[in-house]
């Protein structure tokens, strides 16, 4: 596999463990930045430092005052609704478009016109559409990009990149004859060619079937283990939750940054879900008698959502109370809010704020 084994110029991750993400930029917008994880002891330089970056197209603001850091070896999810500025952010960090204001350090190099080529040498970007030459074979496409990265005698590297995405047997096929999913994989193989320090992946599983998407997930997980920094733009919140160490939610301005768990904790109270065979005769009285339960509400005819401060401490007491009351308990579980809940909560806040 090319990328995992040949990756160089990264800190941490050599032992296969997830490297710790860096703390966010010191001057990041205070109230919305939730992540405060710092590298234990010595602080490694971040792969990506973005500081109050803004891009405007005339009167329209694509994104504004965006600040965050991405540590080496981190998989950083970048979420947001359509038109939030995600792709423009990637294009800006990838030197395709110039920021209106703010600064960034990409792969250790300050983002500036004179450093554009050097930055592009150290990163790779997979745009949403793979953009392959359909009249050329898979190998010819790869050879072209190997040339653009200045790679000489790139045969082995091309073979390894194609093997990494399970396309070794399709190397001689014309790209025009490949399915959308296979084209997406060729695009991904292309980003592996140059052993980038940072990979920007814009919707890498877009249009892929579940099996192919899972293969891409496995590939990203493998790259993370070997220390490649991945900046993942996605609409698939389950994908972000599964793959990303931290996520940022962008809606023109950066709404929040943190691990999925931190964001859930920040936005939602802990809760237990109780399911019984039959409705409880007097749930108000029963739950009021349990100290750990702050409040409750009906979720279904036989299902109750209990707000608690510590689910693990509350569950045994709740179980005892239910049994004492003669309730036939089906299950007691901790309510888990998905990243989608976090996302929708934040985006809905924005929608409400705009209405006001």
């Amino acid at each position: 596999m090319i990328s995992p084994d040949q990756t160089a110029d990264v800190d941490g991750g050599a032992d296969g463990r997830k490297p710790e993400p860096a703390a966010p930029a010191s001057d990041a917008p205070g109230p919305t930045i939730t992540d405060a994880r710092a590298l234990g002891g010595t602080k490694a330089p971040s792969a990506l430092v973005v500081n109050k970056l803004t891009k405007r197209f005339g009167e329209r603001t694509a994104f504004s005052e965006v600040s965050f850091e991405v540590a080496h070896g981190e998989v950083f999810g970048f979420l947001g609704p359509n038109g939030a500025g995600k792709t423009t952010t990637v294009r800006t960090l990838g030197t395709l478009i110039a920021p209106t204001s703010g600064s960034a350090i990409v792969a250790g190099i300050p983002l500036s016109p004179e450093n554009e080529v050097e930055i592009r040498q150290r990163i790779s970007i997979m745009p949403e559409a793979p953009g392959l030459y359909l009249r050329l074979t898979v190998t010819e496409n790869m050879e072209f990009f190997a040339g653009l990265y200045g790679l000489h005698h790139a045969d082995t590297r091309i073979k390894d990149a194609l093997a990494a995405v399970n396309l070794a047997d399709r190397a001689g096929d014309l790209c025009g004859g490949l399915s959308k999913g296979l084209r997406q994989r060729v695009g991904l193989a292309r980003t592996l060619l140059s052993d980038p320090t940072i990979m920007f992946l814009d919707e890498p599983t877009s249009g892929l079937d579940p099996v192919a998407a899972r293969e891409v997930h496995d590939l990203i997980a493998g790259l993370r283990q070997k220390g490649v920094t991945i900046f993942l733009t996605t609409h698939r919140l389950d994908e972000a939750e599964k793959l990303c160490d931290r996520v940022a939610i962008l809606n023109t301005t950066l709404r929040t940054v943190g691990t999925p768990a931190e964001l859930r904790e920040q936005l939602f109270k802990s809760a237990l879900v109780v399911k019984t065979v039959a409705p409880l005769p007097d749930p108000d009285k029963l739950f009021a008698g349990i100290a750990a339960v702050d409040s409750w509400r009906l979720e279904g005819p036989d299902s109750y959502l209990l707000s608690v401060s510590d689910p693990r401490a509350a569950a045994p007491e709740l179980t005892r109370a239910l049994v004492s009351a003669g309730a036939d308990v089906l299950s007691i579980g901790e309510a888990q809010h998905s990243l989608e809940d976090v996302y929708l909560e934040l985006i809905d806040e924005d929608v409400e704020a705009r209405k006001r």
Partner: protein, 260 residues
């Protein structure tokens, strides 16, 4: 201008030539068009009576030969007009621009890939014409043609220069056009100035001599280089990339983890 990386330029040239080979319309155009331009001069040359006086013969033979100079204008103009607008329309421009290639290298690579087949084809057609004249034309006509030094020099000297002109004009249109068809239609403008010069030669306003040929060649070379720099300045990554559109939607779910 910063130093160009020949690896990048070669990669673009190689890819372009591979792409041309696989595109039937380009292969057909390159195979047929030059020979269409060959028909008219051959007919004219072979229809000129051998008994014509040498001064009239000389004048009658100039225009058909200069007519051949349309080949290195027409073919590259179309290809150049497609070069950037085509990449943009098929969605390949953005991935390409994310690589370390400089815009000058991209333009040079594209230009060279268009120049090479256009010039080779033009020379092949000139060679065929001269061979046909040498083998089959009346000796007087043949001698008249082979003694037209300035015209023959123009053919060989102007071919790459006119191709260069057509390429830079075509690319200038291509980097600004939002639609391939518009770019290709506007690309035909590249042929207007050279056509004007050919017309002036045909009507005798400009007398074809060695010095005139060399002066025109020098002027054309300067114009080509200047135009190339202008194209390079016109090549705006941001403008080329932000024309792309993308929309997607996603979903998630609330779930709970069992404690007991």
């Amino acid at each position: 201008m910063m130093g160009l990386d020949s690896t990048h330029v070669r990669a673009v040239v190689r890819k372009e030539l591979q792409d041309y080979r696989r595109k039937r319309s380009i292969v057909a155009t390159m195979a047929v068009l030059p020979f269409v331009f060959l028909i008219e001069p051959i007919v004219q040359i072979f229809l000129v009576p051998a008994s014509t006086s040498s001064s009239v013969l000389s004048k009658d033979l100039s225009l058909p030969l200069l007519y051949l100079l349309l080949i290195p204008i027409i073919i590259p103009a179309t290809l150049a007009a497609y070069s950037v607008a085509g990449e943009r329309e098929q969605g390949t421009l953005e991935p390409l621009l994310t690589t370390p290639i400089r815009k000058q290298e991209f333009i040079m690579g594209k230009g060279a890939a268009i120049m090479i087949p256009s010039v080779v084809l033009s020379y092949v057609v000139f060679g065929i014409l001269l061979a046909a004249v040498g083998l089959f034309a009346h000796p007087a006509v043949s001698a008249a043609i082979f003694h037209k030094g300035p015209i023959l020099l123009s053919l060989f000297l102007f071919t790459p220069l006119l191709a260069g002109w057509a390429i830079v004009v075509g690319m200038a249109i291509s980097v600004r056009a939002s639609d391939i068809r518009v770019a290709q239609q506007l690309g035909t403008f590249a042929s207007f100035p050279p056509l004007g010069v050919i017309a002036l030669l045909a009507v005798g306003v400009i007398n074809p001599t060695f010095s005139v040929a060399l002066i025109f060649a020098a002027v054309l070379l300067i114009v080509d280089v200047r135009a190339l720099r202008i194209v390079s300045r016109m090549f705006d990554r941001e403008r080329l990339v932000t024309g792309a559109k993308a929309t997607r939607s996603g979903a998630g779910s609330t779930r709970h983890r069992f404690i007991i």
